[in-house]
Amino acid sequence: MSATSRPPIPFVSGPPKPTYANDEYSIRSWVLTTDHKRVGILFLVTTTLMLALGGTFAMILRLEHLTPDRTIVDALAYNRLFTLHGIVMVFLFLIPSIPAAFGNFLVPIMIGAKDVAFPRLNIASYYIYLLGAIVLLIAMQAGGLDTGWTFYTPYSVQTPAAVVPSLIGVFIVGWSSILTGLNFIVTIHTMRAKGLGWMRMPLFVWSIYGTSIIQVLATPVLGLTVALVALDHGLKWGLFDPARGGDPVLFQHLFWFYSHPAVYIMILPGMGVISEVVCTFCRKNPLSYKAIAYSSLGIAFVGFLTWGHHMFVAGLSTFDAGAFGILSMLVAVFSAIKVFTWVGTMYRGSIAFKTPLLYVFAFLFLFVFGGMTGVAVATTSLDVHWHDTYFVVAHFHFIMVGGSMTAFLAGLHYWFPKMTGKLYSERWGLLSASLVTAGFFVTFFPQFLLGNAGMPRRYYDYPPEYQTLHVISTVGSWVLALGLTITLTYLLWALKSGKRSGDNPWHSASYEWMTRSPPPKHNFDEEPVFPTDPYDYTETGGIAHHE
């Protein structure tokens, strides 16, 4: 569309109309909904509950490490708790949180569609997730799973714990992930509004697209692998059992073929959130749209070729280990492209220092730590020293919590007015963002030092010389928990009695703000047209049209 023929945008016009949230109030209208926005809210509420649950387990784990010996739980309970923490956080919070909650709510609006391509499949995906979550939690509670979230054979085949029902739960949750990814791929391909080409989509859509490809291609391998472990455990088929001629290292290959790309299922959507928030609060177009869009696809692709870096001490040949190491470092190249592009976007921008942007600063700071130590552990000679120590624990928590959860919180604040039509308290937002960031850093930075000093992961006891660092880490976890609790409190308060936000409180040029907040049932009151780019902050650009 040429720049001269920009019609004024009549999206927000006429008397107030019902929104997706208030056109029907019955429970039935929520639990049987096919509206992508309501499905997104269902996912948001459920995954937030899972975050609270997984966080509670983590708090008990940290409390246990306050003293070298027993503090509050015994060794078996400790093993069960870190398994619960890992499984709940990975499968029930991190993987579905941003794609299934924000992705569902926003992707169709961002591309000007009325819904996703398969709305019934979408709500089915939610119930499959819910069923899997219930099966998993009951199985782990009743049977006391103590394998860790990685289910390594041969231990997982031999332990008397409830391995089979837990794996069935993981298998079911996996289906939800595949169906959500499939839905997004088809939606982005076939439902973009007229004139909205690939290179004009908001960057969040690109990151969800890359994520969906990983979900569709990697998850079936996990499903297969956990099914085989269940058969090994339940029926003694022995595919991974060395006593029966099987090879446990093959399990590790198949498991990490999913579980490494799964890291990018968790972080790529977060990167999409960061791209949106940076542009909105710096009132600038990204330094390079293409660099961010293509690096998302680059991470999705290279992510499939790096799984061996989890197995440097499992007997890989020197050549294989070196190849996996170099391929893993390529991920850092794509990530660095993104980080520098975001920082370059801020340069000479008109920065509005709001809570979502504070979370972006936290993300950049913490993600660089996580990313650089990722390059370090991808170096085979260094990894032999750090393997299975707290160094690795700290590394992936900097990515998963410092990266993904921080981005989740950035998105939650940024899109809170979009989803609810209400404003949260900026003062409380900035305070708790500072607490979360500081608490996180104090919790996990000492773990790098612990790991480097030789503290192995998943150990119940430790020698007294590690105690100081463990105590610092535990105190940090209290600050982190306090920050998150305050966040939940003021957001719930804002939902009930917050000030009305208006349609576009951040004055964003991106497409999701072109409709009302909260949006009407079919997203737009009139057929949407997107005459300007989503990051066009020029005087005649998107903002001039929106308002």
Binding site: L182, P220, L231, L235, G238, L239, R244, D247, L254
Partner: protein, 221 residues
């Protein structure tokens, strides 16, 4: 024949799509994406097979020799015929010849039954010999090589998973058969049969790869 009694542009479609053509495109794309996912599911098993065959080449070669090549080949022929039939049914349904399309789908379903009968006969003869998954049964007491146990475990896993897909595919085609006979799937609304047929082809293609690794490649033992 009632061909082209409505152009796809103004045919009835789900309201959140621009037109029926877009809706059909989305449905087909969705099925292709799903097949990509299915392919990776089987790929994990093929990777296991390749790895264990490299570990135990002789036992795997011996296992392939022990399987009845005629039955495997017969099943290949059955599935290829069924795929031809289902592809033809897509073609004739677009021309509006619903009865012929239904007959071709019925033929495909009959082929599916024939496949399962042959496969079931094979399984039954394995069980009679004492060959069970997981290296259980008296066959493995007489032939204790660990590679052989893994060969048959993988054999039952891969053909079993394939068999489940055959049953699911037959379910999908049965549902489509009913919809076609009731006139619910008729031009221009024919894409549901497209996606059912694409799924059936996947079942065929997977078998084309199972056939050589379990029946045709005894190796040089």
């Amino acid at each position: 024949m009632n061909e082209a009694n409505a152009s796809p542009a103004n045919a009835p479609h789900v309201p959140y799509f621009q037109d029926l053509e877009r809706q059909a495109h989305a449905a087909r794309l969705g099925m292709w994406v799903f097949l990509a996912s299915e392919l990776l599911l089987f790929a994990g098993l093929f990777a296991l097979y390749a790895s264990y065959r490299a570990h135990y080449p002789q036992a795997f070669g011996w296992g392939v020799e022990h399987n009845v090549r005629l039955l495997g080949t017969l099943n290949t022929a059955v599935l290829i015929c069924s795929s031809y039939a289902v592809a033809s049914s897509v073609h004739v349904l677009r021309q509006g010849r619903a009865k012929l399309a239904a007959a071709l789908i019925a033929f495909t379903l009959a082929s599916g039954v024939a496949f399962l009968v042959i496969k079931g006969y094979e399984y039954a003869s394995h069980f009679r010999e004492g060959v069970f998954p997981g290296g259980q049964g008296r066959f493995f007491l007489e032939n204790p090589a660990p590679g052989l146990k893994l060969f048959y475990t993988l054999y039952f896993l891969m053909t079993g998973l394939h068999g489940i897909h055959v049953i699911v595919g037959m379910g999908v085609l049965t549902w489509l058969l009913v919809r076609i006979l009731r006139g619910k799937v008729a031009p221009p609304f024919t894409h549901p049969l497209d996606i059912g047929a694409i799924y059936w082809h996947l079942i065929d293609v997977v078998w084309i790869f199972l056939w050589p690794i379990f029946y045709l490649t005894p190796g040089s033992s």
